[in-house]
């Protein structure tokens, strides 16, 4: 990407504010082996429902009507394949057929294209369908040129959690181990669904702040049942938890590994020493204590 991408598309994301180092470190600002002129050698397109600060960095900004991403992606796939597209139907998405045709041409003409899709695409109406459409579009573009698609993830080490869940349970999230083996059913076993339905008796929260982002019924369930939070700082969730264990901040006072969004792991070396135990430490001690208790009970 750094060395080759001459077309960079951000869809439903605001990297200027959410991933501030993305532009300078990985994409548009970098000089690459095959992009010797850096920014001048690349075209940046931003697709979003509003004009965020990222639009300033874009060569082309396309404003889509909220909830119309799937329609735009589908029309775009058709334009790329040279199929006939109804201009009136396109107009309903907030974009014109000319804008789509221009984008399709840029996509087919580039040497190496990248499509980053953010939570504005994967977490709004259509969710999985939107992500699938974005990935399919990128796959189909490989009939014309080299094209890749990549999700821009949320805060924290979400990618790392996803990676480890996959190699230990075969599934990325929404895993239920209550039968002694992993079962996967997003929409049924995902955290948010369990909490909203009130299926779980207790919750352990590690490196996340669901109290800040989840819907009211989920937050209510968290506050009415035993919730334990491991976090270096006070969060919305820690305020409503029964127990808050203060842990060392990974990367500041604790070592660890974070996964980049492209699943490359980076080791963290803590510059400071702190008084608090690491998350790993606390989890191990909880497990050992539970085992001792089980032993005594038996």
């Amino acid at each position: 990407m750094k060395n080759r991408a001459d077309l960079i598309i951000y869809w439903g994301g605001n990297p200027a504010e959410c991933h501030p180092r993305h532009f300078t470190k990985y994409t548009i600002m970098q000089k690459g082996r095959f992009i010797p002129n850096g920014r001048k050698g690349r075209t940046m397109v931003l697709v979003d429902i509003r004009e965020t600060p990222s639009a300033k960095a874009a060569d082309v900004f396309l404003q889509v009507r909220p909830g119309k991403d799937f329609e735009v992606l589908t029309a775009l796939r058709a334009v790329v394949k040279g199929q006939r597209v109804d201009a009136a139907a396109v107009a309903d998405t907030g974009l014109s057929l000319d804008q789509l045709t221009d984008l399709a041409n840029r996509m087919k003409a580039c040497r190496f294209g990248v499509l980053f899709f953010g939570m504005g695409l994967s977490m709004t109406r259509g969710k999985h369908m939107n992500s699938a459409a974005a990935l399919t579009l990128a796959a189909e573009l490989n009939a014309f040129t080299k094209f890749v698609a990549m999700p821009m993830r949320g805060h924290g080490n979400v990618t790392g959690a996803d990676v480890i869940m996959r190699y230990t349970t075969a599934f990325p999230f929404g895993v239920n181990l209550s039968r002694g083996y992993p079962r996967f059913n997003p929409g049924e076993f995902s955290t948010i669904d369990l909490l909203v339905r009130g299926d779980n008796d207790a919750t352990l929260v590690l490196g996340a702040d669901p109290g800040a982002t989840m819907p009211q019924p989920a937050i209510r369930h968290l506050s009415q049942t035993p919730t334990i939070v491991l976090d270096p700082k006070v969060t919305h969730t820690s305020r409503l938890a029964k127990v808050h264990i203060t842990t060392a901040a990974t990367g500041i006072t604790a070592p660890g590994t974070v996964y980049r969004m492209d699943e490359i792991p980076l080791p963290l070396k803590p510059p400071l020493v702190g008084p608090y135990p690491t998350d790993e430490d606390v989890m191990r001690r909880i497990r050992e204590a539970a085992e001792r208790k089980a032993h005594i009970a038996a």
């Binding site: 750094k2 060395n3 690459g32 082996r33 080299k146 230990t168 599934f171 699943e263 490359i264 792991p265």
Partner: protein, 541 residues
């Protein structure tokens, strides 16, 4: 201390071919004799050195990407239910890490070589290997599409090629060097491929895939790496690729090489309609080249997922099947593709592939130079190896299976003409002693004094699939881990890495180029020894 008394022992490295004798174990090694300790009655049982897999994909970013792509397969796969010794998991085409260890050891295999590790994500591979118990591990670092290395080969700077290779092997805590579709993956980053061995790689002035192959093979030899260059030839899976494979053998100019999953490189025909077996030509050239070893990369009918660093091939497969396709490019080193796949008996191409794997295993006359693999999970999951042994040991069974193939497929293969049947001694070679020798692992694949005490004890029976799927006992590092066909104990495995000697100056040379081309800081790039669980270092001078 442990004694396996009176079993029929197959230990090809030490010239033991079905001799009734005792095997004695103490302190994790095979010893001449023990006084006391546990005794296992081996009467009527067959004793093998533990299986060694020379080429498999059990850990790493690409495999883990595949796991995420096939939830529908996992749902139908065999689950592992958590109990007092085992962690939960899923088996299927891409078993989870703990499951991988349980299942390999559960069929008597105790050493695996993970065949494709990009340096950039080697840390991740080692994280997965750490959670893969029961087996000892090695891995090969992917180099043939590393841009810094390719520039040096093109410039003819052979001395530095050697140092750069050596540095990368140690940086990745790898054991050997893997070359995948030399030059082709690099070209794929711009959507191209390198199909002709003697034509320049797109984007380079003079550098050809042949230059890369011979340059790397020579460097591995001169560095005296215990395992030869691990070579995945150009043009994998394509009709008519037999000529590329034969050209590659020539390009090696007598240097050692291990040719991975040879089945995928032994095809004739001009297109998919005329696709046919060319295993006879490949086997003939291979038999005449004592510098080469290979593994079969055999295919079995059924559902799996294909995953390889060969991006162009995967894209072709996607176009052929119209199924899911995932592609990863790993910065300046390599890339990979993932496609779920079903090999069908009634599909002519698949039927030919099935036959070619078996033909090569039967036509290569020295079993020491051909190892049993399916390029797991590409040709079939590794836990189906016993089915291949069944086909190799029983010509009548083979005939029955051939009869089920479409008429057209039968005219494109020669399997029906091959009457050879593998003996138990030969099975011990292709599944243990041979791959251990190809890898240069001196303590593996045999039961001589000083060998690692990895032993599989089978109950001899007509149903070969059953026999090799469910050993009576498995001993790993001297511990009895399987008893009466059940997992009784979970043990950790080691990771052996090679540390070749290199000029420290090469580090400064790489640092400068690295900071120009990569997005990671150079000091974060190597895997530090503390991150590798059970690390054993083989230091070369």
């Amino acid at each position: 201390m442990l004694r396996i008394r009176g079993g029929k022992v197959y230990d090809p490295k030490n010239g033991v071919d079905g001799v009734v004798k005792d095997v004695c174990i103490s302190g994790g090694n095979v010893v001449t004799d023990v006084d006391g300790g546990r005794v296992i009655d081996g009467t009527g049982l067959v004793v093998f050195p533990g299986g060694v897999d020379v080429h498999t994909h059990v850990a790493g970013a690409a495999l883990n990407f595949a796991r995420g792509l096939i939830p529908e397969q996992h749902r139908n796969a065999h689950p592992i239910v958590r109990d007092h010794i085992r962690r939960a998991g899923i088996v299927g085409a891409t078993p989870t890490t703990f499951a991988t260890g349980y299942v390999y050891a559960g069929m008597g295999w105790t050493t695996v070589n993970e065949a494709a590790v990009p340096v950039l994500s080697a840390k991740h591979t080692h994280e997965e290997l750490r959670d893969t118990p029961m087996v000892d591990k090695t891995c090969c670092v992917l180099m043939a599409n590393n841009e810094i290395l390719l520039d040096l080969i093109e410039a003819g700077d052979h001395e530095r090629v050697k140092h750069v290779l050596a540095w990368h092997v140690w940086a990745a805590k790898a054991y050997g060097v893997k070359a995948v579709n030399p030059g082709g993956v690099e070209a794929w980053k711009f959507g191209g491929d390198a199909k002709k061995l003697l034509e320049p790689v797109p984007g380079y002035k003079t550098l050809t895939p042949a230059d890369i192959v011979s340059g790397m093979a020579r460097a591995c030899d001169e560095l005296r790496l215990p395992h030869a260059v691990h070579l995945h030839c150009n043009n994998l899976g394509a009709p008519g690729n037999v000529s590329t494979t034969l050209d590659t053998m020539k390009a090696l100019e007598g240097h050692r090489a291990h040719m991975a999953h040879l089945q995928y490189h032994a095809y004739g025909g001009d297109d998919w309609l005329t696709f046919r077996s060319e295993s006879a030509k490949i086997a003939e050239a291979f038999n005449a080249s004592p510098n080469l070893t290979c593994d079969a990369g055999a295919v079995l009918f059924g559902t799996t997922v294909t995953i390889t660093a060969d991006g162009p091939w995967q894209h072709l497969l996607y176009q052929l099947t119209g199924k899911k396709w995932g592609n990863l490019d790993v910065e300046n080193e390599t890339g990979c593709g993932v496609v779920p796949y079903v090999y069908k008996e009634k599909n002519i191409v698949n039927a030919v592939q099935w036959a070619v794997g078996l033909e090569l295993l039967l036509l290569i006359d020295d079993p020491w130079r051909v190892s049993l693999t399916t390029d797991h999970p590409n040709g079939a999951p590794f836990w189906r190896y016993p089915e291949i042994l069944h086909l190799l040991m029983n010509a009548d069974f083979r005939k029955e299976q051939i009869a089920r193939l479409p008429e057209k497929a039968r005219s494109r293969i020669i399997l029906d003409q091959l009457t050879r049947e593998y003996t138990l001694g030969e099975v011990a070679v292709i599944s243990s002693a041979g791959p251990a020798r190809a890898l240069g692992l001196e303590h593996k694949g045999h039961l001589g004094v000083g060998a690692d005490a990895d032993v599989a004890v089978y109950h001899a029976e007509k149903d070969v699939t059953k026999m090799f799927s469910h050993p009576r006992y498995v001993i790993k590092g001297g511990e009895v881990v399987v008893e009466e066909g059940e997992l009784r104990q979970v043990v950790e495995g080691s990771v052996t890495a090679v540390k070749p000697a290199y000029d420290p100056e090469v580090e400064e040379f790489l640092r400068q180029l690295f900071q120009q081309y990569y997005t990671m800081s150079f000091d974060n790039y190597p895997v530090t020894p503390d991150r590798v669980h059970g690390l054993q270092v083989n230091e070369l001078n």
